[in-house]
């Protein structure tokens, strides 16, 4: 609530209705529903980005892997956010507040919601071999934060 304690107490009996009313008004004003249809295909999604150690010319010292699919997230996080299953609860609230105050409150971001590790095997300066586990290197799922 942006109205402080007094306002919150007075609206406590029907808080949902107040939000819905605000959204209906916002839809009417901004044509948001039409916008959803046009932006649906641009929604927050996972895209592949392959980092190739072979193409970087590092195969003489990186023994394995040859490269890895890192992935990245791209797309819009637009109203109505709860149609995206990966949107966090807080992202939905963030969208609502953005609607109410678009000038100052930003939209939620399309970002990784699940990350995965990889392991890399390589030589060091002294011809020793290192096997290192790297956490959070690969995006498994994207969502709106």
């Amino acid at each position: 609530s942006a109205h402080g304690n007094k306002g919150r107490q007075s609206n406590r009996s029907k808080p949902q209705r107040t939000v819905q009313d605000a959204l209906k008004a916002a839809e009417a004003e901004t044509g948001a529903v039409k916008d959803v249809i046009t932006t649906e295909s641009k929604g927050c999604k996972k895209h592949e980005l392959y980092v190739s150690f072979r193409d970087l010319g590092w195969q003489d010292w990186i023994i394995a892997p040859e490269g890895y699919a890192a992935y990245y997230c791209e797309g819009e996080c637009a109203f109505p956010l709860n149609s995206y299953m990966n949107a966090t609860n807080h992202a939905i609230v963030q969208t609502l507040v953005h609607f109410i105050n678009p000038e100052t409150v930003p939209k939620p971001c399309c970002a990784p919601t699940q990350l995965h590790g990889i392991s890399v095997l390589y030589f060091d300066d002294s011809s020793n071999v290192i096997l290192k586990k790297y956490r959070n290197m690969v995006v498994r799922a994207c969502g709106c934060h």
Binding site: K42, K45, H47, E48, L49, Y50, V51, S52, D55, L56, W58, D60, W61, I63, A64, P65, E66, Y68, E74, H116, G117, I118, S119, V120, L121, Y122, F123, D124, D125, S126, S127, N128, V129, I130, L131, K132, K133, Y134, M137
Partner: protein, 258 residues
């Protein structure tokens, strides 16, 4: 250096990178790997015992938690990963193999070269000084290959003793770490636990004076390790002795600001 799927609509990376951009990109990826630069000298071969063993460890992880990575090279005949190694691996953030430096020490012209050669066959040195500070040793092993020897009697046995060098000659002092009896007909990797010793060497690098191996026949007579089939330095590359250390990071790793 990057390829992206066809669905991507953004064009920020779908162009050929300029040279300086390519270098920047390489620097970023090196930073992800926690490396300041690529190795300066690349004279190593992937078919030595240590890289082959490490590749086996890598493949163990790949077919386990990181199942989307397929094994890359056939690793038959390498220092097989034991169930104990797999347990160490589960608990590790990093594993490092170390090459034996004792065999690389240049011979001094006026010394008896045969004597030095014999000496180096029983000495093993590993440089543990480049281990990152946040890494803690959870397990360490010394691995040496025992070849089958035809010349000996089938039931002949040898005693292998591994010592930590506490003080160098002339007042040499040795600490017995492990001792075991091997059959002449045996073939495969002998694995000695070096966890306590490695921890000591990491904390006090000046005390890292290496390992000393002693071989005795069944009569207690000291003999050349090669006679029992132990590969100590001059044998095939894929059977060279090496050390492997398992590490666990004791704090969250932060990438340094560049």
């Amino acid at each position: 250096n990057f390829s992206i799927d066809n669905e991507v609509r953004s064009s920020f990376i779908q162009r050929r990178l300029r040279n300086h951009e390519r270098k920047e990109m390489q620097r970023e990826i090196l930073s992800l790997l926690g490396l300041p630069h690529r190795p300066r000298s690349i004279v190593h071969t992937k078919h030595n015992a240590a890289p082959m063993f490490m590749l086996d460890l890598y493949n163990t992880i790949s077919t386990d938690a990181y199942s989307y990575y397929k094994p890359i090279l056939p690793t038959q005949g390498s220092a097989a990963v034991t169930p104990q190694d797999s347990r160490f691996l589960d608990n590790a953030d990093m594993v490092m193999s170390f090459v034996n430096l004792a065999f690389c020490i240049p011979l001094i012209a006026d010394q008896d070269q045969d004597h030095l050669y014999q000496q180096h066959q029983k000495e093993f040195r590993f440089d543990l000084s480049r281990i990152p500070e946040e890494e803690v040793v959870t397990a360490a092993e010394f691995r040496i290959y025992k070849d089958f020897i035809q010349e000996s009697y089938e039931n002949e046995t040898f005693r292998v003793s591994l010592y930590q060098v506490l003080q160098e000659p002339p007042n040499r002092e040795l600490l017995l770490l492990d001792q075991r009896v091997i059959w002449a007909a045996e073939e495969g990797w002998l694995v000695f636990d070096l966890t306590a010793t490695s921890n000591l060497w990491v904390v006090n690098p000046e005390q890292n004076l290496g390992l000393h191996l002693v071989l005795e026949d069944s009569h207690g007579q000291r003999t050349n390790p090669r006679l029992a089939g132990l590969v100590t330095g001059s044998g095939p590359q894929d059977k060279q002795p090496f050390m492997v250390v398992f590490f666990k990071a004791n704090e969250v790793r932060f990438r340094g600001t560049r």
